[in-house]
Structures are given as C-alpha cells and as structure tokens.
Subunit: 199 residues, 2 copies
DNA sequence: TAGAATACGGAGAACCTCTCCGGTTTTCCA
DNA sequence: TGGAAAACCGGAGAGGTTCTCCGTATTCTA
C-alpha cells in the first residue's frame, strides 16, 4: 500500500484538478473497457470522462498505461491474496487457489487482463507483469518444496498457460470451460512428468 | 481437394480478372500479414496487390475472410496430416504429433492462426474452426478408445488449450516455451484425472 | 462484334490515435 | 493579499484506418 501509483516522484504535489481528472479518466476507462473490450476507443473514454483527448494522453501515454491503471487495484487484491496464501498450511492448495483467482483476474472485461499481461512486456505494464510473476513464482516454489508440484516447472510457464486460457476463452466459451481447462493444467502441475517419445 | 474455395457456387464462371485479383490479394496478404501481424492494414494489402480498396473488400468482406484465405492451404495440410495420422498405429502418438503440428500452425505469423480461430466463431472463419475441431475430435476419440488419453476430455477443450498457448506466446516467448507448454498439456491428457479439493 | 453482366478503383465519410500549443487555472512566495 | 510562474487543460488537426458507393471499364456470351 505504498504510494506505488505516483509517477511524479515528489515535486510540489499534483494539482488537485489533475488528480481529479486522472480519477475521472480511470473511472470512465473502467466503464468503456468493460463495454467494448480492451480495444475500446480512447477518444470515447476521454469524452465520457469529460476531458479532451490531450488530457487523456498526458495522463496515460498509451493504452497499456490506462489498462494498467484500471487493473491496478485488482492486482493489489491478487497480491494480498498471494501473501495470505503464502502463510497458509497446504502449499498445493495455496497455489491452486491463487491460480484460480488469477484466472478470474485475467479474464475480466473480455480478457483485457490477459491481453495486458501478454502485450506489454516492455512498457509501463512491465511492472505489473513482474509483480504477478513474483507472486506465481513464490507460490509455485513453495509447492515444489513442500507440496507435490513437479520440479521441472517455472512460474513463468504456469502463468503463460493460464494467460493462454484467459485469452483463448475471452470472447466465447462454454460456461465453466475456463475453470475446466485450469483443472487440466493443475493435473499436469501435480502429476509426474511423463517421458515424451520425441524430445 | 474438392473446390471448397468457391464461394460463388456455379454461375457463368468468374471473370478471369476477378480470379487474378483474388490471387494477387491473397499473395499480398500473406506477405503483409507476415510482416505486420494479423492487425496489418488492409489498405496496404490492397496497395501492394495493385488493386483498390474496393476490390479487396468485395473479395473479402472483412479481415477474417482474408486471414482464412491466407491460411486455407495450411489448414488443408493439417487436414491431410490428420487423415494420415488417423490411419497410423499408435493412437496416442498420432494425437500428440497432430497437436504439435497444430500448435505450429496456430503460431504462424505472430499468432494470426490462433487469433483467427478464437475470434471468428460466427463469421466465415467458422467453417475453418469447425474443420479443425473435427480433426481434433477424431484423433482424441481414437486415443481415448485405443490409447491412454483420459475420457473426461473434449476435443474442444484440448483445442482451446493449445490455441491459448499460441496466443499467449505469440508476441514474446522464450524459444521452446510453446513446445514445453504443450508437453505439459499432453501430460495432463494422458494422466488420470485427480480429485479436485474444490468441485 | 455488340450488348449485358460483371468487376474495378478511387473518392470520400466516419472513425481512430496521438501531438501541439494558446489560453486558463492553480500554486507559491514576497 | 497580489501577482508571477508553473502546471494543466482542451480542442484543432495531421495522418492513419476501415469500409461504402457508384461511374467507368472490362470481359464474357450470343
């Protein structure tokens, strides 16, 4: 809960109208993204926030930055859950439960969470990708040491699989399919690696 | 190899300039999509094909149709491979090998294959989605009857997982990661379903 | 070869992203 | 408290995109 948000480090404190506009923009973005998906018009967001396009682009240089801001609190929640689960008893359960939460996160608003995680590998969103990777790695490592998770697995891989589920089921999917696919992945996580015929 | 392409059923046979333009467009699209990904400018494709935008849109009403046309021969190849593998000895091996081929297919050109399969569930691309689903289902069913693939699995689910891998690793991925993720999924396919703590 | 059917292609409407800069508002300091 | 300076706003607009419409040109058929 440190002031991770503040892009402007210290200075003479942001002007209140700037802060207000920023909040309005994030709120509008949340709405519009929910309606039209991650590719929604940024113009429309500015319009609905009651500001000009210039203002939007000054606060958020690109779509990713805006997406990140919209998802920031959700990521915070995920982080809190991870910390909490890291202190729990069963390492396997903890990993599983967090992955379920993460899948739900990555699927919000027509897969915008997943889209963000996969697209913005070098921009501002990097930070958010990194944080999530840390959470996953923490829980996975523990499950490998104290649980039944197989050792030949990296947090990155696990994450990539779940993001994949989110993306491929973003538009149209049977109800319950995403969770079913995650079950499948979890089977693989706990099962012993089999010998591949072709290496 | 029947004339599956022909959208215009019979009629007085297409004019040769129309056919030529169509071919030019597909060729240009192949190039441009490869360079700029599935979101490439259709204008640019028309320009490079030496035709007007109007011509492009008459031949292909939307991006999906064009993508489908570009990938048509690849799908044909995949289909041939499926038939061949269906006649092979080991049902498990057949499924695995086809899934590897399919993953490669879905990853071509910055994931345009995967993008197509997931987005166009109701448009022209539906046909192509359906065909691939049939292939997957055929091979999976056989592996369930004569191999070790677990029974509680639908072709659709398997496909969705692999498409997810293609999508999430489309932009940036470690070399070899997509195949590694597929290995993981294959482990799950052959392993027995485990009891989930939370149903 | 002439008429009819078919296809072409570019102009253009409507939208989008993103930049630039004159004018306004807020803050700070004397 | 009264400015000056810094910070910020917002809209005009450049340049891109998708997609349509329709007069014109081409090709097929008889």
């Amino acid at each position: 809960m440190t002031n991770r948000q503040a892009r402007i480090p210290v200075g003479p404190a942001r002007r209140t109208d700037a802060r207000l506009n920023r909040e309005r923009l994030v709120a509008a973005a949340r709405e519009v993204f929910a309606e039209a998906g991650p590719g929604a018009s940024l113009n429309e967001i500015a319009r609905r926030a009651g500001v000009g396009p210039g203002t939007l682009y000054r606060h958020f240089p690109n779509r990713s930055a805006l997406l990140t801001a919209v998802l920031a609190d959700r990521i915070e929640t995920l982080h809190a859950r991870a910390e909490q689960l890291l202190a729990s008893e069963d390492a396997d359960d903890a990993l599983e439960e967090w992955l379920r939460a993460f899948l739900a996160h990555a699927r919000v608003n027509q897969g915008m969470g997943g889209a963000l995680l996969v697209e913005s590998a070098g921009e501002l969103g990097f930070d958010c990708h990194r944080r999530i990777l840390d959470m996953a790695t923490g829980l996975l490592t523990r499950a490998q040491r104290r649980g039944t998770a197989r050792a030949d697995l990296a947090g990155d891989d696990l994450l990539q699989l779940v993001i994949g589920i989110a993306l491929s089921t973003a538009g149209s999917a049977r109800a319950g399919q995403p969770e079913l696919l995650l079950d499948l992945v979890l089977d693989a996580v706990h099962g012993a690696p089999r010998r591949r015929k072709r290496p």
